[in-house]
Symmetry: D2
Subunit: 274 residues, 4 copies
């Protein structure tokens, strides 16, 4: 086997392909690496990311060289600045893979500390977040921010028709935001987005709630009944105040306490594909 | 290749194994076949089952013959009586695989019709159910029934401390019940188990709720506040009234509307392994 | 409470909304009902579907009436013709909900029988399938067919560079096909789509494989090495032969046996949103 | 509301319960916090853990005080020594909750660096790991280590009967190991367990494989054909060499490349419940 290795091994991926079909994205999915994410307070947080990275493939080439993606990730993802130089990273991906476009998507749990509303006891809450980016040629750069967060919703109909009580439940807001990468807008921090969307709920969720806090969230939810339709409209209104958001996809899904199925609302404006 | 096939192909699985380690269960997992389940009303319901089937393997044999499991399932699972002759099925599995024990577990969504509490509008609800069975030798037969069902819970603490409202949420009851297979007890119908556990909730869930129904379930939940501890204790009390239940594992998990994490209670008596 | 019920309960959903935001889709998600799917052989197969159904909501209305979706599904889904009259179903949804558009998506496991390649032993294989449809106004009707299927891929690079053997693995093809609903094309059967995509693999998967069959699939895969890039190009070529396909989204993901991550290829043409 | 808060809020959980049913475990599930795990090289790794923590509940008490679990976790989990003082942590849980037993289970992705077998290029691999522990009274302490890891298996039957090639696939080893907490054994490092189980595979998986490496793993797998039965027997043999392992539960599941279902082997010795 050693002798064998002294001769160059055949490069099948570089062979010609006769089918005449250029491919949009070829790459690797669910590569897991630790990465650093910058917090609003200026510190970095290490998270475990599941990453998809891909390039386009010209019609005349049989395959891409998949190990190069993982090697580049292993080399570059250890830098604290990795997530904030995705454009440079993708430029290098294009060069390593000899491609015209390159795409990356990173999914991770990100911790934000929240204080209980009355007792102010702090504890971390995990949010499912994502960074997606693509570069076509040298200039066409896109960036999409993703966030998935639990909230509470209390049903306005149930409150209005019942002599007492109102059904409420955990609900999930899912957002993908395409951000303007040309202009010089301020950073849209995940911390601020969570805070803004929390205000769209009947009540935010909290990690720690002592009795005083539980009384507060119970009454706050009852005072702010919201359908999924109400929540998504308020999230849309929030996004309309962000000049850097050029497109979005929004979903609100309530795990109804009275049904086995969920209530759902969906809104899309502009383009959030990378 | 055809010539080749005329000669018997080597049977590697039957080779001797020198490691001296007998194995408890070897087989196939997630074999999907349609099966018939008998409803309480005497009709049968076709469901899509995901099946695990296995046997023990003596220390001296290298491997089991896995295609035989799938062939037996394909042959026998089309019978309307299949689920109700699992003992005979496992006896045949022992014989086909030349084993001392045989185990099967089938997981499926099972539909039960429920009427809205006031308007009586009916619609199906899907429950995650399972049948597990094992046969050791000719006589030692075990059967375990599984059920996973959504309910609503309303927090007694939240109700007691708040001036109005009370947080509530979807919760899940998970049960595995080992049933006596020696005595001649009445069948424990999934329909009856769902009905009995529904009474342990702050309020059952329903597929259709018009406004009159929604008022009813809202007020019923508020009138019956229950912690997960309350729900599981009432489920335990239900099981204590079933003479055929020789062991159980119970879980109640509430998808708290005020937190991102869940409240949880767990109880086990006797043996529910197959 | 009974007196109360004699008076009409307030209809909060019909209240006015002042935020001026029309919503694209509001409805219910993961409603589970049994439905009938027509097989290519003319028989029907009952499957357990998880359904999302939604309508648009005008800016001036606070909420939609979600129970109406579930009632319509409970009433209509029991018909053997339900899946083949989705346009009429959605027209009725528009009318019941007083909306301009209506959308439905149904996800289910669908069984197709497959014979072992040499011994011809038959057994069922489950495929994840979906029907999606939307109707805007009276005329703008869209239909999207979804299929997710396991295949085997054998790596051309591994085969070319190794003295013996080649790594292979289970891979998944995921397809969404927008179908022309105006012209009078022949039905695109799931059975035929599975058969066509199976030919794009290094080797199809089978539920039962006796030794003669296992020899056949092993050698067939070794004789047909394919990257995910090869598989997706051949799937694209298949779709190009279907005149009724007006758009598609295709993914091939290989659960690489040599890595913990997956190889992945993605292609999209036209519009597959409903 | 403020006046209200000045008076003590009622403590419903401490109320008496008349049902006479003591509960085994009540607590919180899926609390997510970042924790530090000690690596074999002496450095610590921050991981995102999903935690279940519970206590027993006497028959005469209505409920437990769930916020105390989350507060204790928020206070203590930030210490680098947290995972290595679980006994003290659980002792404190007993005291805070006034319980006889306390249990904790933490699930997390843990990164281990692996070098390519020939080119020696290093990159991280993520493994699903868990720490479980319980304390009953002051002395009865249990600890269970969990690991889930991908490997490659190549089928001995397929190799033996085919003129060329052999089907292979990604497989998963799942292990729960009860460790002796009384004696003074050496630490069982996750790094060493992964290395030992990797030797039980047809070939380990690697994050980066250049062509020379891919040739190596292809031929190594072909030279080491293993059924799931072979892999699990070798894992059992590994565990038999660890004096600190007092019980285990082992599973090997192969995502067969030739089927849609999986091959599976299961073995249990001793007690791995906490």
């Amino acid at each position: 086997m050693l002798d064998n290795l002294k001769q160059p091994l055949i490069d099948v991926q570089s062979h010609a392909d006769a089918r005449g079909i250029a491919l949009h994205k070829v790459g690797v999915k669910n590569v897991e690496v630790p990465i650093y994410v910058l917090q609003k307070d200026g510190r970095t947080q290490m998270v475990a990311a599941s990453i998809t990275i891909s390039v386009d493939l010209p019609a005349e080439q049989k395959g891409t060289h998949m190990s190069r993606f993982v090697i580049q990730l292993a080399e570059k993802s250890t830098s604290k600045a990795f997530c904030y130089n995705l454009r440079d990273f993708l430029r290098e991906t294009q060069q390593r893979l000899k491609s015209n476009t390159a795409h990356i998507e990173m999914n991770f749990r990100y911790f934000i500390h929240k204080e209980a509303p009355v007792t102010k006891i702090p504890a971390p809450v995990a949010y499912q977040c994502s960074f997606g980016a693509s570069l076509t040629g040298e200039e066409d750069y896109k960036f999409v921010l993703g966030l998935e967060m639990p909230i509470a919703t209390l049903c306005p109909c149930s409150k209005a028709i019942s002599d007492y009580g109102a059904h409420n439940q955990r609900a999930i807001i899912r957002a993908k935001l395409a951000l303007d990468t040309q202009s010089d807008y301020e950073v849209l921090w995940l911390e601020d987005l969570v805070k803004a969307f929390d205000e769209c709920a009947s009540c935010p969720i909290f990690p720690v709630l002592k009795r005083e806090d539980e009384k507060y969230v119970t009454e706050r939810a009852y005072d702010n009944p919201k359908f999924v339709e109400d929540v998504i409209r308020e999230c849309v209104a929030v996004l309309q105040t962000y000049p850097s958001v050029t497109g979005y996809e929004l979903e609100v899904e309530a795990l109804e306490s009275i049904h086995g199925h969920n209530a759902w609302a969906y809104q899309q404006e502009g383009d959030v594909t990378i």
